[in-house]
Symmetry: C2
Subunit: 459 residues, 2 copies
């Protein structure tokens, strides 16, 4: 027999999905200044919704950047307090021409909803809201446990605002644990909790050569070329077998435990299938002495995201640009410290600066790597709730991605996080044609309802 | 006593400059498809002007790309025939934000006219038109020699249309020599003829890794990164001391003669001043075993012009792009053959293709390097004309740039070119704040009038 809240959620599936679509239509791209107003609009829409469903102390909290949305319900005496976290900002949609349907016109195809932010993280964040609504509705405005919810609008740009808030006002978010749905299931129908995340430093290297753009015929052969300089520098940061060449970078890397490694080996994962179906390249790269899951979850990496500058139009322009930029990030694993890694990186990059070039190495944002313990009542309730919905045992995985807030919660609030995500590995996060499986949206809401009910003492 | 034509040119200086400004207002950017109509408009304006000044057989000649403008006057029996060549297309103006005045709003400052195309080549091309107008006007529609004039709209994109026309219809351009004003004076007030040009191949390397853009957290460490691959490849094309590493690339390089080297050494040139005032970088780069002028004029080079793809906005996007592009050119010197060099380049690039990446190496356009003899009556008339105007002996230099049409004229028409240019080294060709010294515009017109008069037998 489904509980009343589950019953309500099932009866309201089409409305929940329609509301999510409305939210996905708002292009709340936090990294692009021209979308500042859209980000705020998304915050205001969510604040109104949290108020409507019956949460209290709803507030749009200003930060140095985009606002956060806060609400709570704290009347379940003697029960645990859950801090629900999500983000309503999204990545830029480019390259636009590769989207089958426009990124901000949510479109259903093959049981999925396609839109920027569908799974990362509007769709998953909204599951929290709809699970809370279902329980509040059927219990006359009451919840079986205490809940605070905080939604940020800067996750995709480093989350500085919420990080500062957590540091400066830990009492405003006091809770027993955090609940985050911003990760994925290891495979379709396989309930998954994420217990480890990579950290990161996101950097820019700006190379400057001549005082102004120069004609490559008139000056080529004597004037420094900042793109060539960047290629020289970047090719010295990592070797062809995936080893990062920054001196000292591996010093504090802690390998996963033998038990964790063994569990990973039993996951349903084929490196060949991953290469052919998910990545779609002729070969995988990286450190061959490690399995692919180890490379993704437990090894640092260094990636180039783009190299702005110079001539990027069609055709030919014979320019030696005065400057060029490289956007470079490193993913970190425990116990690499972001600030220390950035210093090693900056010092090394500057030490290999080519002749005639000046380099400016800048840190854009950073986040800690994290590993979470699984022996607490919240994880136990989560696995039980997931079993109710999926009828399967939960697998524990790590993610190669970064959710810096988990480290902030651990450090400032001294609480663990339950990372219960319902994305799928082929959901195209940060890429064209991002999607979210509609069935997972609804199963996720049900699992969250069961999770809250179990923590509140219901069977 | 100035000739009547010189007198006319002097009296009409302000009108000539106003007309040039009108021409500079047309954004005839040949490489950008959205400016196709502007390129055609420039052609039509020029055709009307050639008709107005009294040339015959004015025609806008269609090509596979942008049109050419042709006109002639062939009634000077027994006299030489000059083929005047120029181009009315321009480079793109980006980066726009570095222009002090807008690129297509010609603005006078400090005795210069600032605009895209001011010196390359609208301003210099228009000197031919105004010199011819001056002579036609004062001699009742007659010229002292035979003239054909051909103006192209594709010089900045490789000039395929005119190259094909020259190959297929050499009789339409039959002449004794060509006159080209698309080069510069070695120093202010120093009359200069250019007698050598570098050739080039302009290429694109496209690198593809994964089938779609990937999240660098989820896939970083196992998925191939096309930007990193390009950096690996590009850093292996040239070493830190400027030596191109493509096997065989130097095999056919012919060094300049001892006499030419000696003449270059006596030119008023300071490497330090060049570095500090023209290039404005902390050091010069390239092959230290050669002088700077040798590096620029007589040595091949390899340059990267831009690396489109990936994330180029402000802020952070954690993407591993599915593809990335590099725009790369090589400047060539005698006797490097463009097609053969491209094949060596392509083979080498493909041979160092990183794992998991596919590379597509494309030739965008190419042109021959060239060295021109100085023992002919046209060069002698040119130096005499320049002496009349500048009261100084002409210096013979080479240019590091490429004017492929000079090779086409040599091969298909069997005629030498006189490259009499009036640009200056700091004119910012292909860069923001391109300019042309207004005094040189007028002195150039006078030198051209004297040149034509001398070839026609006047004193």
């Amino acid at each position: 027999m489904p509980t009343e809240a589950l019953q309500f959620a099932r009866e309201n599936q089409s409305r929940f999905l329609a509301e999510l679509k409305d939210l996905l239509r708002i292009p709340s791209i936090s990294t692009l200044p021209e979308h500042r107003g859209d980000v705020r609009q998304a915050a205001e829409v969510l604040a109104a919704e949290l108020h409507r469903i019956g949460l209290e102390h709803v507030e749009v909290i200003e930060t140095s950047g985009h606002p956060m949305v806060y609400a709570d319900w704290l009347h379940a005496k003697g029960k645990a307090t859950c801090l629900c976290y999500g983000h309503y900002d999204v990545q830029p949609p480019d390259p636009l021409e590769e989207w089958i349907s426009p990124p901000f016109e949510p479109t259903e195809r093959n049981g999925n909803i396609y839109a920027r932010g569908a799974v990362d993280d509007k769709g998953q964040m909204y599951m929290h809201v709809k699970a809370l609504e279902s329980m509040l509705h059927v219990h006359q405005g009451k919840l079986p446990l205490n809940v605070r919810i905080i939604l940020e609008g800067e996750e995709e740009v480093g989350g500085e605002g919420i990080a500062q808030f957590v540091r400066e006002h830990p009492e405003r978010l006091r809770a027993d644990f955090a609940l985050i749905s911003d990760t994925e299931m290891f495979a379709p129908d396989l309930p998954t909790l994420c217990v480890g995340l990579r950290g990161m430093i996101y950097t820019e290297i700006e190379a400057r050569g001549a005082a102004t753009d120069l004609h490559s015929g008139m000056y080529g052969g004597a004037a420094p070329n900042p793109f060539f300089a960047l290629c020289q520098v970047l090719s010295q940061l990592k070797d062809a077998r995936g080893h990062i060449l920054i001196p000292g970078v591996y010093d504090n890397v802690v390998p996963p435990s033998a038990a964790e490694l063994k569990a990973w080996q039993s996951l349903p994962f084929s490196e060949t299938e991953f290469q052919q179906k998910e990545v779609g390249s002729s070969a995988l790269t990286g450190e061959e002495e490690y399995s692919v899951l180890e490379r993704l979850w437990a090894r640092p990496t260094l990636e180039i995201h783009g190299m702005p500058g110079g001539f990027v139009g069609d055709g030919a322009k014979t320019v030696i640009p005065a400057k060029a930029l490289a956007k470079v990030s490193l993913r970190l694993v425990p116990d690499m410290e972001p600030q220390k890694i950035f210093e090693l990186y900056k010092r090394y990059v500057e030490s290999i600066c080519p002749k005639g070039i000046s380099l400016d190495v800048r840190l854009i944002h950073s986040g800690d790597a994290i590993v979470i313990g699984v022996n607490n009542p919240y994880v136990k309730a989560a696995t039980a709730a997931l079993h109710d919905v999926f009828k399967k045992d939960t697998v524990f995985i790590r993610s190669g991605g970064s959710i810096p807030i988990v480290g902030d919660f651990e450090r400032s609030l001294k609480i663990p996080s339950v990372m219960m995500g319902f994305g799928l590995p082929d959901d195209n996060l940060h890429a064209p044609n991002e999607k979210f499986c509609i069935a997972n949206f609804h199963r996720g809401i049900e699992a969250l309802i069961r999770f809250f009910e179990k923590l509140g003492g219901e069977k």
